[in-house]
Subunit: 207 residues, 2 copies
DNA sequence: GTCTATACAAAGATAGAC
DNA sequence: GTCTATCTTTGTATAGAC
């Protein structure tokens, strides 16, 4: 009685706005979303949105920060862990990251799109650069294949893992792919990508 | 005298508007660009923009179609060519596509971003689905590795090739990467990607 | 074809009552 | 805290002179 069943109604107004905004922003991008739409989706008045968050920009910034953390927060601990092998890192990454992306398939394209048009969104966020250049993962790659820039292999791993999710709108509309079969394919990749990375990282036969 | 040296001044007004629009749209996306900005960038009056193109939307549609053709028109002939081997296709693709992307690095993220928020942009364009499922390339992949969905390998190839360009804003801002060294890396990948794809496509040792 | 001036609509933000 | 009503700005599009 005091706690109604409807989970939405329990949320604070601030939280309701934030959730509605997250959804609308993800769907239309920052520029195309109207604060009025957010207010409507949240079931509240437009004025209230400006009461809680000072402006559309401030509301967006908060959400963007959360998304960035969802997207990169998961990579960092895996890549910097000095106690795991190269192979183990790749395996853990593929498994856990694909799992995350299946649950949030629109995340990468949303974040990258907004970074493109507002590079300052990145100012907030952490040391991503380190992951690419000085992390334990980068060092192990350099040790394994000293002749090549470790970035090459990182781009392979990320590309093979993330790209399908970025291209998903294309697949859905042009290859008649539905969510279920897409997810099956992605799940298969949890095993496939580590195998493929192994092949790639194999030192070529001495010639 | 009759042909001034400045290449810009030679262009028709229509063409000047189109070029300016291409640039501004690519930078800010459809929703965030103002027709006034385009007019200013083109060095003409706002009214003139509406004289040549009936609306912002129509102007955008024309540009988007061009971009889609730039992006996919190059893949189609390579993937559908029945006279070339699997290896040759991969080699040709990597070489020619990376070349294109170095000249238009913002192309993939721009197109994919706009597709995300306006899936109807794709309605115009050709049979991309075929490339993924029934093209000569897909058939050759299926013949080589019958146990796996050919899409897996296509996603690998596209991911390894295109993803770095999509992630470029990130690399520039977070890995302190400038255009010159980025392009060097990409050029290296023209040779590396075919090698890697060969490794991936190698049938695993019988176990 | 090109301009100036302006109409018209939409969107972000605020004032003030309750 | 929440609403209604309104201000201000910005953006698309058009009218009409040259």
């Amino acid at each position: 009685m005091t706690k109604p069943a409807d989970p939405e109604s329990n949320l604070s107004t601030e939280e309701k706005i934030k959730r509605a905004a997250t959804e609308v922003f993800a769907q239309k991008g920052f520029a195309a979303t109207r604060t009025r739409d957010i207010a409507e989706a949240a079931g509240i008045n437009l004025a209230l949105l400006n009461y809680y968050f000072r402006s559309k920009q401030k509301l967006f910034d908060g959400i963007m920060l959360e998304k960035l953390q969802e997207l990169f927060g998961r990579i960092a601990p895996i890549f910097t862990d000095t106690s795991t092998s190269l192979e183990k890192k790749i395996e853990t990454f593929a498994d856990s990251y694909i799992e995350t992306l299946i649950k949030n398939p629109e995340l990468p394209l949303f974040v990258l799109s907004e970074i493109r048009t507002h590079p300052e969104s990145l100012t907030q966020i952490i040391q991503i650069g380190e992951l690419f250049t000085t992390s334990s993962f980068a060092q192990q790659l350099k040790a394994r294949r000293p002749e090549a820039n470790p970035l090459h292999f990182i781009m392979c791993l990320l590309g093979m893992t993330v790209f399908p999710f970025i291209a998903k709108p294309l697949l859905k509309s042009k290859a008649a792919m539905d969510d279920a079969s897409f997810n099956i394919l992605m799940t298969e990749r949890k095993q496939l990508i580590p195998m493929w990375m192994d092949s790639i990282l194999q030192n070529p036969v001495q010639s």
